[in-house]
């Protein structure tokens, strides 16, 4: 009985991951299990051998060591790169600026070319490939040193943002060329450093093209530059980082401009990043591509341009084959959404967050971009995309529009949150009511995540829900200075409540069929 469950799960996971490179953890577990199956003669030695070949058990022992070597090489490259940048910053006069520039440029070329050569070698020798990747990482950092040196030579007054943007573009081009996701992450990191520093020294920005305008459309820029790369490399991590970058820069715009909008629009745009993340669907790209191809007048030119934009989603689904799932990145986006939503709920569950005095200084600080059409364009484009994505989410072929239960619940959550914002904006602070609603939402969300985590057999949502719930209880205990007797009563009531919910849920599970998506 126990065996069949476990085997079923393992094989199911194996089927899902077939074609993709299975994780070390899974392969190790499979190796252990397969060994047991062979000794208990559930499978023959041949079958074991086949499994061993398919999942490369032989390389399991070396995998950890190889990864360690990779980390050492990568760290080495990063340190050398930082050394080069610091060398530029020292502005050492014993070498003339021309010699320094020549040396640094040649070093960059050498690193990139040799790294490319090593990485591009045919043959199974992974060792050189790893060294090649490390050299390419070093080359990307040396590009920054070169750019910084050039700026230093001519005593440029351009800000860090302008340096970082130029640098990120160069690294990004390299990442596209040789399809290395970690170079994309490096480019995103550099861009992020520039972006956040630009918010501080925006007054000094020299170039309007690279300056204020790009800051105002940053969410769109990141989406256009990095999401296709994430598909091209089939890298969920790069997708997650891009999604964080898009939504945090979007939030900056919303927090700034939202205040000048009517209350109900402000309340709605405040939940826009969450709605955007939840509704993200990989297949929407494919769908849009198909729709565009149907438009006759757009065919010759738009199709070509669309193809470059759409190319990663359509082709990489087959080539990269990160997962045979139709939607490789949707779970990532949804996970991020739940993570950030629960954090926001936690922050807003404090009473101070809803008190007038706490929010006044923030709300009265001057607007950065009140009259900017570009900000409005960015917001409306992303809002339109979000609405479209939600419509697509409930769209069924030849059936009426209907959301799946999970998405409907999330939509309700977002609706309640927006309604609460609107009420606060329109009627002034409502500390008691808003705090209560937020606490209920946070508790339900945490419990829901735990439930989903248990149902889907994945640990992360379960543990995150548990952590958030514990955090919430601890925060409430520490926040309110009430008598111990009252506290004790609250704990007992909460405990009884949980037990009742648990028993009800148990009953519910027995009597009803629960559909887990």
């Amino acid at each position: 009985m126990q065996f069949s469950n476990r085997t079923g799960k393992l094989i199911a996971v194996g089927v899902v991951r077939e074609g993709a490179v299975a994780s070390d953890e899974f392969r190790r577990e499979l190796q252990r299990e397969a060994h047991k199956w062979r000794t208990s003669e559930l499978i023959s030695a041949e079958q074991y051998q086949q499994l061993a070949e398919q999942y490369e058990f032989a390389t399991l022992e070396t995998a950890a060591r190889d990864r360690f070597i990779m980390i050492l090489l990568g760290l080495g490259s990063i340190l050398i790169g930082i050394g080069a940048i610091t060398f530029v910053a020292a502005n050492w006069q014993a070498l003339s600026q021309t010699v320094k520039a020549g040396l640094l440029f040649i070093a960059m070329l050498m690193c990139d070319l040799s790294g490319f050569g090593l990485m591009n070698r045919v043959g199974p020798n992974d060792r050189w490939r790893r060294l090649g990747q490390a050299l390419l990482l070093l080359g990307a950092l040396l590009l920054g040193a070169n750019l910084a040196l050039m700026g230093q030579i001519v005593h440029t007054s351009s800000t860090r943002y302008e340096l970082c943007t130029t640098w990120a573009i160069g690294v990004l081009a390299m990442a596209y060329g040789i399809r290395l996701p970690f170079l994309g992450m490096l480019a995103l990191l550099i861009l992020g450093v520039g972006y956040w520093s630009a918010l501080w020294d925006m007054v000094w920005l020299q170039n309007s093209l690279l300056g204020v305008w790009t800051l105002q459309i940053m969410p769109l820029l990141v989406a256009a530059l990095f999401i296709p790369l994430a598909y091209r490399c089939g890298s969920p991590l790069l997708f997650a980082l891009s999604a964080i970058a898009i939504n945090s820069s979007l939030m900056i715009l919303i927090l700034d401009v939202g205040r000048s909008l009517p209350y109900w629009i402000d309340a709605l745009v405040l939940i826009l990043p969450f709605a955007l993340l939840w509704a993200y669907d990989d297949t929407l790209w494919l769908f849009l591509g198909q729709q565009l191809q149907r438009l006759p007048f757009l065919r010759p030119r738009r199709r070509a341009s669309r193809q470059t934009a759409m190319e990663p989603p359509t082709s990489s689904r087959r080539t990269a084959a990160e997962s045979d799932d139709e939607r490789p990145f949707q779970p990532v986006a949804r996970g991020l959404m739940l993570l950030s939503l629960s954090l926001i709920y936690w922050v807003l569950s404090f009473r101070d967050a809803w008190l007038a005095s706490a929010s006044r200084t923030f709300l009265e600080s001057p607007l950065l971009w009140r009259n900017s059409g570009l900000v409005m364009l960015t917001l409306s484009l992303l809002a339109a995309w979000t609405v479209g994505a939600w419509i697509y989410l409930g769209w069924r072929q030849q059936r009426p529009w209907r959301l799946d239960s999970l998405s409907a619940i999330v939509l309700t959550f977002l609706g309640i949150t927006a309604g609460l914002f609107w009420l606060t904006f329109a009627a002034g602070p409502l500390p008691i009511f808003a705090t209560t609603v937020m606490n209920v939402l946070l508790a339900v969300l945490s419990l829901g995540m735990m439930r989903e985590g248990l149902g889907a057999g994945t640990r992360a949502p379960f543990w995150w829900g548990l952590v958030m719930l514990t955090l919430q209880i601890l925060s409430r205990v520490l926040e309110y200075e009430t008598g111990l007797l009252v506290k004790s009563l609250v704990f007992v009531v909460c405990g009884v409540g949980f037990i009742v919910v648990g028993l009800w849920f148990e009953h519910y599970v027995r009597t009803l069929r629960v559909d887990t998506p």
Binding site: L109, N120, M150, I178, R179, M202, R318
Partner: protein, 214 residues
């Protein structure tokens, strides 16, 4: 449909995969000093009065932030032509500090040449005489137009940083401090070169008559 992925996890990449990105990176590197190089090669040397402050940039090292007489709105507002451009610089109802800045030109004149046309004393500051919205043409030889960008009450010329070697930085700081606390009027100037389009690049510092260039 795409052909099925090849057995190898790492398809071999063509040479363009490295050549194109490298070309772009090289262009980016060359583009940084391009404008400054043009100003240096084709420009005119001008001396400006300044006040230094000292920050640090982790990528490009120590620099001194230079603020000029003409960086202050108060100084510019005494010049000819200010009324004409002021309306453009201050559109009503805009906390416009962070919009792309409005650009204008400051005309500078070499006073020593006005007083004694044959003298060519370097190391004396030029003085601003008027401001215009459009780039002035046909200026007399002892005058030149410098392009500035207006942001709120601050005016930026692209001349705000002078990078200093780490080794000489403290020494220079001390000299600046001495000059500022001394009895004599501090004479701290920046030598810049202004290109044909009004873009400028800082070349050297002048401290109490000594020229310092890095």
């Amino acid at each position: 449909m795409m052909p099925p992925p090849s057995k190898s996890r790492w398809p071999q990449l063509g040479l363009w995969a490295i050549a194109l990105p490298l070309l772009l990176q090289t262009l980016l590197i060359v583009a940084v000093p391009l404008q400054a190089a043009m100003a240096t090669l084709m420009g005119t040397t001008v001396i400006l009065r300044t006040v230094p402050v000292d920050p640090y940039d982790p990528f490009r090292g120590y620099y001194t932030t230079l603020r000029y007489d003409i960086s202050q709105r108060g100084v510019l507002s005494t010049l000819d032509g200010w009324e004409a451009i002021q309306a453009n610089l201050d559109p009503p109802d805009t906390p416009q500090l962070l919009r792309p800045g409005q650009s204008f030109y400051v005309v500078l004149a070499d006073q020593t040449q006005v007083e004694a046309p044959s003298a060519t004393i370097v190391g004396e500051p030029w003085t601003p005489i008027r401001v215009t919205r459009d780039r002035p043409r046909d200026l007399p030889p002892h005058q030149i137009a410098l392009k500035g960008t207006y942001r709120g009450d601050r005016i930026v010329y692209g001349l705000e940083r002078y990078y200093l070697p780490e080794a000489e930085r403290l020494d220079l700081e001390n000299r600046i401090r001495e000059a500022q606390t001394g009895t004599e009027q501090p004479r701290f100037f920046v030598e810049v070169r202004i290109g044909p389009l009004g873009n400028a690049v800082p070349i050297a510092l002048w401290l109490q008559g000594d020229r310092i260039e890095f």
